[in-house]
Symmetry: C2
């Protein structure tokens, strides 16, 4: 039986999970892959704190170079996160002819181009199933199961924390801050949750997915990114009245030949569509292949065991595939990026405005001047001279026109607050 020697860098929650799965599933994995997966060394700053798994002391080290320079180690599993020194470790491992498995979405999104080039030069693989939607094997699905497909569109809920917050707001009638506090309490959000709630983590993930489905380099700065921090409980309530819910979506869309758009923004989605049913910290992807048609995948996006499941599947791929996937050596597609300003969208807009005669007329006038037509309006509360919400849904309009109209409306002294959310069909 072939032995695959593994060097693990980062012995935190996920790292312990990988060790746990490899220990617990040893026999089954050997039968399925005809390989023995042997953890030869584990490097971490802290090698003394207790973990949920037992490993021999001899394989623990503070010195990553013991892994990177060991010619017997076939695979580096990188689980420290962040750009540096993870990038340098991976490059050194590739140059030393090791395959690399990583869960480092930020690194792949920001430095993927260089890393994949170095991997190709060294005829090594970088596998990253764990970097996007943990328990859902979406990377393998895209690379293998949907091999024959051009992906026309992908809409994803790829950040469990943001989805948890929006779900809790909706379920429990909580405002954003209370839902976020609960997420922190349950260990779903970190103390600093900005990466999640501002869409930055979703942007990393959709960058990785878009690179894969368009076979092109996607720069992070080409991905429009808007978070969920301005969504109020009342927005979720109004959305529901119209038959919608609000989700933070990561979107990759193919337009005409070699033009694509990649975006992250909160959107109203119909309660009829499966994505609207994704609650709590779950992830999901709704996609359209030109051959397979409509597809939907749902599962856990994070957590020790779902992430370890993805990493071990990558080990299986290394064990069972031909050494080097030709995909990564192919010259990339030159992709034209469709900016968000070039889209046409319908919008949900909620104003808080002083309730006085003519306020709706003033807003409607500006929208009309910018060729934005209103599909429906709700103005429930009537409290003369007080601030009340006005909610409207627009017909399709050009993003540019909508944004111009909103900027004009924001100047009206009677309008005290305004939120505009795209509607995704």
């Amino acid at each position: 039986m072939k032995i695959i020697n593994i060097g693990l860098v980062g012995f935190g929650t996920v790292g312990s999970g990988v060790v746990k799965v490899l220990q617990k599933k040893k026999k089954g994995l050997e039968q399925k892959t005809n390989c023995e997966f042997k953890i030869k060394a584990i490097a971490d700053k802290d090698i003394n704190s207790p973990r949920c798994v037992k490993v021999s002391k001899e394989i623990l080290t503070n010195d990553v170079d013991k892994i990177l320079n060991d010619p017997e180690i076939d695979v580096l599993i990188e689980l420290i996160g962040g750009i540096h020194p993870a990038k340098e470790f991976i490059i050194k491992a590739l140059r030393n002819k090791k395959d690399v498995i990583t869960a480092n979405k930020a690194l792949l999104a920001e430095e993927g181009e260089e890393l994949f080039r170095i991997a190709a030069e060294n005829k090594r693989e970088i596998l990253f199933e764990a970097a996007v939607c943990g328990g859902i094997p979406i990377i393998k699905v895209l690379k293998q199961g949907l091999l024959a497909n051009k992906i026309d569109s992908l809409l994803g809920i790829v950040n469990g924390t943001a989805n948890y917050v929006l779900s809790k707001m909706e379920e429990n009638n909580w405002e954003f801050e209370k839902a976020l506090a609960q997420a922190r309490k349950e260990g779903i959000a970190e103390a600093d949750a900005a990466l999640d709630t501002r869409g930055i983590d979703s942007r990393h993930k959709i960058a990785i997915l878009a690179q894969l489905i368009f076979d092109a380099d996607i720069k992070l700065e080409d991905i429009f990114c808007q978070g969920i921090e301005d969504i109020r409980l009342e927005d979720l309530r109004y959305a529901r009245e119209f038959g919608y819910t609000i989700k933070l979506l990561a979107i990759a869309k193919s337009f005409k030949e070699n033009t694509a758009g990649v975006y992250v923004y909160p959107a109203l989605i119909s309660e009829e569509c499966l994505l609207s049913r994704v609650k709590g910290a779950f992830n999901a992807l709704s996609l359209k292949g030109d051959m397979a048609g409509e597809l939907f995948f749902y599962g856990k996006g994070a957590g020790m065991l779902p992430t370890a499941s993805a990493i071990v599947a990558d080990l299986g791929e290394i064990a069972m595939s031909t050494v080097h996937s030709p995909q990564s050596t192919v010259s990339k597609t030159k992709l034209e990026i469709k900016k968000i300003e070039e889209l046409e969208k319908s919008y949900y807009i909620r104003f808080l405005a002083v309730d006085q005669p003519g306020v709706l007329a003033a807003i409607a006038k500006i929208l009309g001047e910018q060729r934005v037509s209103i599909a429906s309006v709700i103005q429930k509360e009537r409290k003369e001279k007080e601030i009340v919400p006005i909610v409207m849904m627009t017909h399709y309009a050009k993003e540019k026109d909508i944004q111009r109209a909103l900027r004009e409306i924001d100047k009206l002294p009677i309008v005290k607050e305004r939120l505009a959310v795209r509607i995704e069909e």
Copy 2:
């Protein structure tokens, strides 16, 4: 570039789809796999009727042996369906050292054990992504993406025709026959739809999935199978009043060590769960892995291009994997089968009974005697001496007790019709 020579047997809709995809996606597939997929011969009884694709006349033949005996052909794609002569073709191809790709679910369900043994003896692959849930790459997900997982349970809507019929009944307030007629009109059901509506096709598919997830031989006769032909429109209506819908489910469940149950039956499922949202001819699978947790996959189960997409993905697997997957050589697990009589279930039961004093008491008495307790009852219409529906939901009870009670109730002369449907949590 490596050339993979293909022999295609069966040039119908799916066969034409495969040719179409290979022609249309030629360049992309070569880039992704570093292989050229070349259709060297196509065998069919009818090689004269026009198809949706153009192929050179020289590659068409009536003689399957030209494919099976051609040493240059690497892969047989079998698309004729049925047991004979498909089985003999596949065996001959394996013995002549060809890998086999097939969409033939009946054959794999009935004769899979022998075929996979012959494949292993000849160190060849049988790949069958297209046999189950066409466009959803569930076979690769189970074999590769979820490699580290024991699948604790799988609930699937794996027959698009049956799901279409139930969906249309619900959406349009149609009875079964009318919905089935519409399915025939739209080409979703064949003239003889018994394979679909009686659950036989679902049984084939769950046999294949269960063999894969339990790594064991599952006999068709060990799979309890019940269809949807007795479901009436009113059952869907009552189910909805309780917050449920009715779906034809294919189920594989792991119980204690080496015990599993495989079943096909219509079931009430909560409107909260994703499976209840699967409408029309779509397929979906809800599963639980011991590492990845809860997962859900949704897509097209049939059709020319989704099926061709699956077959081409199998070609990709042959191109990119090591020649022989060790999985199929491993000695199978000895599995104890949990019969349906051994389950505990709650039930939806609808009676048509003569409306006279004491009818509910008579039914309730029998249920009570068999230790089946009633959770709720609806008896809406009251028409003295006429036949009216009585609908009840039971608490959990042993299947044996339920069945015994129902047999007793069926003997009551006041009960004119009775339907019992399991509730799946």
